[in-house]
């Protein structure tokens, strides 16, 4: 591989690329450079990256197994829809929509905090069961709230999810999770995966690490749900079922556990595949889980499992040239 791929470029170059990308999104949105279908797929792609990176924090870096991510999405989607349709519908979307998205994220984060508390006592299989129960409770709970439409779904949400907002939230998610897992505190989250008892003995506050991972992961799950609701303009409890969770799991384990580049790769491959397989109808949902099973058998850590593209790694992780001598 060429040298510039093995070493991250200077900070300024990265920031310039980022600014160019956001400007491109703004231009596409402003001047209508792509047709509606491409725009829809691009927004879905961004939402999928947010979902994949945020679930990867718990399932990849922390090594737990959660199947409840669609539940956090549902909480974020419904709360943000309430904000934008019922509570602050008079507001200007310029400030009201970010508020709705953050509100959805906070709601999901608060419930994620409770789920994180439960993870102190249980691990592994039982934690997976708890997240499954959580998903079922959220889904059938929403079905029993007539205020948000019950089983019929929530209608009349305006389309506020622009390409620019999706890009901003995607970058924010990647930036937050990158800085978290490469921080001193975030290494405690990785230590929980390797060996919780040993991490505890070495002075890692494993409870705090678990809680942080759960709250951050579910916050961004809720943000993705909010963007999703304002993209589709109609949400229904049965959208957020175990199939949705499995889709996110496919992305995480396809791209690679514990890797930002892997999450982006997984989200890209999944978005492309699910669009390409659209003509197959329900057979699509036979092929996607089949891919997951084959992955587990032949490449359980995914394409980029535990590896990282150097551009996503902070500069300080690389030895300086003088040190090498």
């Amino acid at each position: 591989m060429t040298r510039w791929l093995q070493h991250p470029p200077p900070r300024g170059v990265l920031l310039a690329l980022l600014a160019a990308g956001l400007a491109a999104c703004f231009a596409i949105e402003q001047f209508g450079l792509v047709d509606d279908y491409v725009r829809f797929v691009l927004i879905t792609f961004g939402i999928n990256i947010i979902l994949c990176v945020s679930l990867n924090l718990v399932n990849g870096w922390m090594g737990e197994f959660s199947v409840g991510h669609a539940g956090f999405m549902a909480l974020g989607a419904y709360l943000s829809a309430c904000v934008s349709v019922k509570w602050l519908s008079w507001g200007d979307p310029l400030w009201m929509f970010p508020l709705a998205v953050i509100g959805g994220g906070l709601m999901a984060g608060a419930v994620g905090f409770l789920l994180g508390l439960l993870s102190f006592k249980t691990r592994g299989d039982y934690l997976a069961i708890i997240t499954l129960a959580f998903l079922m409770i959220v889904k059938s709970g929403i079905e029993n709230i007539p205020y948000v439409g019950g089983p019929r779904g929530f209608l009349g949400i305006d389309n506020h999810t622009t390409l620019l907002w999706t890009a901003v939230w995607t970058v924010l998610t990647l930036w937050t999770i990158r800085n978290l897992v490469y921080s001193r505190f975030g290494r405690g989250i990785v230590a929980v995966r390797e060996d919780e008892i040993a991490a505890n003995a070495m002075g890692v506050d494993t409870r705090k690490a678990k809680l942080t991972a759960f709250v951050v992961s579910s916050f961004f799950g809720g943000v993705a749900g909010a963007l999703f609701a304002h993209q589709l303009q109609f949400i229904n409890p049965s959208v957020f079922d175990i199939v949705k969770s499995t889709e996110i799991l496919v992305m995480v384990y396809l791209g690679g556990v514990g890797s930002l580049a892997g999450s982006i790769l997984g989200a890209t491959a999944f978005t492309f595949l699910s669009q390409a397989l659209q003509p197959l109808g329900t057979w699509r949902m036979v092929i996607l889980p089949l891919i997951l099973v084959l992955l587990m058998i032949f490449r359980p850590r995914g394409i980029m499992g535990m590896r990282e593209f150097s551009w996503f790694v902070p500069q300080r992780e690389f030895p300086k040239k003088e040190d090498k001598k």
């Binding site: 197994f65 997976a128 129960a133 709970g141 089983p151 949902m285 036979v286 587990m296 359980p300």
Partner: protein
Amino acid sequence: MDYFAQQAINAIQLGSIYALIALGYSMVYGVLVMINFAHGDVFMVSSFFCFLLLLVLPVPFIAALLIVMLATAILGVCIERLAYRPLRNAPRVSAIITALGCGLVIQNTTLSISPYSQRMPELFTPVTWNFAGLTISSLQILIVGISVGLMLALDFFIRKTRYGMAMRAIAQDRVTVPLMGVPVNQVIAVTFALGAALGGAAGVLYASAYPVISATMGVLVGWKAFVAAVIGGIGNVRGAVLGAYLLGAVEVFTVTVLPSTYRDLVVYTLLLVILIFKPYGLLGRPAVQKV
């Protein structure tokens, strides 16, 4: 009071079917320490097997039960051989994900072939008796009788036969047992065959009691049985039966008090509450984590 007793009979009927499915979850967990999420969908497919069998050839009830149990057992062994055995020594998370994936493959294949729910032809013409204000049908007696009979047979198998002994030994120590000459792969295959056969029996009984079958039954009914197995203490065969009857009662009596849309909410909340206060279920023993 009559109403209450009538509901109690319904609860026992539902609990018996849950118990047969829950046993499959619990046996596999006991032997392999793995949640076989695909088991609910195996149960669902078995009722479709029964439906297909009756379309082709109208056999009597007992023959249908045995043929479906055999077919489902073969399916269970195939899943184990193709999907789970390659992952025997992989991290446990990989095995759970694979099981979840297998379940979705089975469910969505069935859904793609039969998008609508199917009406089951009548397997058995029930006779109903009125007894002190209660209505009991011969079908209910048959369901409870067959379930309890199969459960007793399984208990005998696990406690008294050589295979049963091998299963209990593998559950205790999977490293030493092969060194003693126990054919581990064969015993695990037998475990899957038995679990799936019981699920198959449940599929036939469920389809004769509630004769509309659909591809989502694996999630709607199969996962309830999984909840029952967890409540009882997954891995513990007697716990699974206790949990199943408890869950049957909770479900039936919830619907008498609250609207039926609250049923799932109550069941999964019960699961969450039990896991918080008794993390290993009612009869389960806590796993000691070795350092």
